[in-house]
């Protein structure tokens, strides 16, 4: 089966219809994490699954689902067109319908195959066609996800299945069974005849009894031996695992330590690179960055006000001093104006004046001053003048006092502002003028720490990938690696006890087997009198040889198959590891009739822990070899489809790998995130055209359509672009 085209319709991220045409050799499908690589792989897995009706809501494109109006229907389908005795097609599909806001109903599951007979196109059940063109046993060697699934001999029945499928051993199995039965029957018949023969009856009976005993012994020794060997095998693999763990565990611990260190560093850097830009405006007074100019304005204004106030104050003081001086001068001038000193204004006083008016006599000169006389009028005027003078004096005193006491500026707000101005100058002003520098220093610091943080994040990510790879490659859990390997000693002891028991048993077995051979020899050398007995004896001998021959042939057949597999695998291993160390693959049959793939150095040393890339190429070589043998034995081809098989490869190794795999004459689809270059500045990933241009294979790029919402699955859509 050679796949010509894959069509995927509304399957998960493959929104709408998408198609890929595959070449007969290598097809590379390149995409980054989350671009839909595994989905492509799983779409094929779904199509090749013949175990029953298998439709899940999760198969439906979320994007398509989100667009559906109530009552609207669409279809999920995966379809391949392939060449297998003419062009054929297989499609698995089901429809989905939105029945309410929250519910989608799926139905009409179909799995149909089509083939062309003459000019007509016929349909057939999908699983039937698939089983015809792509047997389930072969399908096991077709789809591989990651590096861990590549070891096809990981389960106990794998070798048997493989040998059964490709080596024709099943026919031998029947023949071995048949001839064993014949041998058994002829032995019984020959024995019966011998025991009845007069001449040798007693001897034969005795020898048979011995033979029975020895055979029983051998049987029980073999049983025990088998058990011991199985346990040694188990101990060996456990020990191997533990030994491997020790090394892996140390590496794992070292990585863990480094991760911890980096995480601490990251926490520090994260704290340093976090900056409350907005609240710092207030809390750290960053908002005052441009404030120096305002302080200047304030200072200038307050200075001017202070000056003005002092000026006005001085002016007022001067005015008051001047007025006080004038008053004093006037009084002095009044004194000096008359030569004769006038009677003081207050003489005679008010009471005397009123008395004189009442008495109508001027008591100053002693003359009468009757009412209506000039003298009387003079006295009245004098009294009025006196009263007016008192009043005026009183007024004048109050006014002068007020004038002297009322300040020009009853308030002292300007002083308040002036104190504030003094407070602001000097250190405070300088502090504020430094804010601009503080901010730019801080921003620069944060930018640098952010860059450091990104670097640490990157390192951390690399280490975590390394850690995951380690876990993946070793197939061990983190818990197991965290534990100390304390039971190593116990396994060692148990294994060596079993081993010494095995050597004891083997010695005994040898001895018993030679004893049995002797008895059998004796039996065969008995010379019975009856010619019929002799015939029985010869028949038995013949069947014995035939049985042995078939048994050996069966064993040989398996060995030949493994040998062929080994040879073919080594050819691929050499190709895949061009210009690098690769060693020799040996495929060993284990005691429980399974097989193990092991790598040896030319000098016979077993390479216990080949590096990730070597191990991957080792397993892949075996897969290619199996496929090669299938082509030879069954005259059919089938594709090998790998999802991210090279995650443990380095850049250089990747390039060589793709160069080699490009030239292998086998349909092979590799879905990978290799061959993408990252632009460090933008994080944008582009195809590594330099490497791709050196390849001759078909290349597809799968990508998520941008923009997408990183939290909403219904915005994710994979697009398939043919690059070449």
């Amino acid at each position: 089966m050679i796949i010509k085209e894959i069509k995927i319709n509304n399957f998960r991220s493959y929104y709408g219809s998408n198609h890929l045409s595959l070449s007969k050799g290598l097809t590379l499908v390149i995409g980054d994490n989350g671009d839909g690589k595994t989905t492509l792989f799983e779409a094929l897995e779904w199509l090749f699954d013949t175990t029953g009706e298998n439709r899940k809501d999760s198969h439906i494109s979320e994007k398509r689902k989100s667009e559906l109006e109530i009552g609207e229907i669409d279809e999920v389908s995966v379809n391949i067109t392939f060449e297998h005795d003419g062009e054929k097609e297989i499609e698995k599909s089901f429809t989905f319908e939105r029945i309410s806001e929250d519910n989608i109903r799926t139905r009409d599951y179909k799995f149909v195959g089509y083939f062309i007979d003459g000019a007509e196109r016929h349909s057939i059940a999908g699983d039937k066609l698939l089983n015809m063109c792509f047997e389930p046993v072969i399908r096991k060697y077709c789809l591989f996800k990651g590096e861990n699934e590549l070891n096809v001999f990981d389960n106990d029945t794998a070798l048997k299945t493989l040998v059964d499928t490709f080596s024709g051993i099943r026919d031998f199995e029947k023949l071995v069974e048949l001839t064993t039965e014949f041998e058994h029957k002829s032995a019984n018949a020959a024995n019966r005849e011998l025991q009845n023969d007069k001449k040798v009856s007693n001897q034969a009976k005795e020898l048979n009894a011995q033979l029975n005993d020895v055979t029983n012994d051998i049987q029980s020794i073999k049983t025990e031996l088998n058990q011991k060997k199985i346990s040694i095998n188990e101990f060996s693999s456990k020990l191997e695992l533990l030994e491997k763990n020790q090394e892996t565990s140390e590496r794992y611990q070292a990585i863990k330590e480094r991760i911890k260190g980096l995480k601490d560093k990251r926490a520090k850097l994260a704290a340093w690179s976090s900056c409350e830009y907005s609240t710092n405006l207030l809390d750290e007074y960053w908002i005052l960055r441009s404030f120096p100019a305002i302080i200047k304005e304030f200072s200038a204004k307050v200075s001017a006000l202070s000056k003005e106030k002092r000026r006005l104050d001085k002016q007022e003081t001067e005015r008051r001093a001047k007025e006080a001086g004038e008053r004093e001068a006037i009084s002095k001038i009044q004194k000096l104006a008359n030569d004769a000193v006038p009677l003081p204004w207050n003489l005679p006083d008010e009471a005397t004046m009123k008395e004189m008016i009442d008495d109508e006599i001027c008591k100053v000169c002693g003359r009468p001053a009757p009412k209506g006389s000039e003298a009387y009028e003079f006295m009245c005027n004098k009294l009025n003048e006196y009263l007016a003078h008192i009043a005026a004096e009183a007024n004048k005193n109050t006014a002068t006092k007020e004038d002297d006491e009322k300040p020009l500026f009853p308030n002292s707000f300007i002083n308040e502002l002036h104190s504030r101005q003094i407070k602001l100058s000097g250190d405070t002003e300088q502090e504020i003028s430094k804010i601009a520098t503080t901010i730019s220093d801080r921003l620069e610091f944060v930018t640098k720490r952010k860059a450091d943080l990104a670097e640490v994040e990157k390192q951390l990510q690399e280490l975590e990938t390394e850690q995951n790879d380690l876990l993946m490659q070793s197939g061990l859990s983190a818990e197991l690696l965290d534990k100390s390997i304390s039971d190593l000693r116990g396994f060692f002891d148990a294994k060596s006890r079993a081993e010494s028991r095995v050597s004891e048993l083997e010695t005994t077995l040898k001895f018993k087997e030679s004893a049995r051979a002797e008895i059998q020899e004796k039996l065969s050398q008995l010379e019975p009198t009856s010619s019929m007995t002799q015939v029985y004896q010869r028949v038995h001998t013949a069947f014995e040889r035939i049985t042995k021959a078939f048994s050996n042939a069966k064993e040989q057949n398996i060995n030949n198959f493994l040998q062929m597999l080994e040879t073919e695998s080594n050819k691929y291993l050499q190709k895949l590891n061009k210009n690098d160390f690769y060693g020799i693959i040996r495929i060993r049959k284990t005691i429980n009739n399974s097989a193990r793939i092991e790598l040896y150095s030319d000098n016979g040393t077993r390479i216990e822990n080949p590096n990730g890339a070597l191990k991957t190429t080792m397993y892949m070589s075996v897969l290619f070899a199996i496929s090669q043998i299938t082509t030879l034995k069954r005259e059919q081809d089938y594709p090998l489809i790998f999802d991210a098989p090279t995650s443990s490869f380095g850049g250089f190794k990747e390039d060589t790998f793709y160069n080699v795999i490009d030239t292998i004459d086998k349909q092979c689809v590799i879905v990978t995130k290799d061959l993408l270059n990252i632009d460090k500045a933008t994080g944008q990933k582009t195809l590594d055209s330099d490497t791709i241009n050196k390849l001759s294979c078909s290349v597809y790029r799968i990508e998520k359509i941008e923009p997408f919402n990183d939290k909403d699955l219904s915005t994710i859509q994979t697009v398939v672009k043919q690059v070449r």
Binding site: T279, L282, A293, F298, I414, E416
Partner: protein
Amino acid sequence: MAAEKIYDLWASRNPQWEKRYEDSIIKNFCDYGRGATSLREDRGKVFGGGYEIFIVAFFIGLYFNQKRQLIEDTQKRKTFGQPIQYWGNLDSVKGRKAYPKLREYIFTALIARTDIDFIALEKGEMTSRKAVDMLMQTMEEYANWGFHFMEDKLTDDPNYFFRETAFLEVFLAFDASVPESTDEDEPESLD
């Protein structure tokens, strides 16, 4: 009784702002109208009390030297719960620092930018109340312009201020050079 200070009179006041900014700006960036326990839990609650965004708006108006009269209708104006004297006291807010001095700088700026006849005030020919009214008006009008500026940015891009550095960037755009000192500016002693 100690002489009354214009700063204290001013600080006991509570500035007004236009209600229309309550939902579009204040509630968007502050925990205005929420209990103190749930402070800054949501995305975008860049600031704490409502007055914080008012301060930011004020400084925007101040540095741009742009004022905008408040809407005439006093029904469409509002004030915060706390008078200026409590602004920036933040003692109980986790992760924040108190900034009481900022009030004084705001006051300084208002004195610098408000045209008050201080001589008349000093002579008692103008009441201190009138002077403080004028300071408040300057404050409110600067902040009002600042709010208007923010609203403008948000109309173009509703997420504009949700970038971490967006508010800071506004202030980084202003000139931060320190003007040349002249002797005139140096405060003189009154003694």
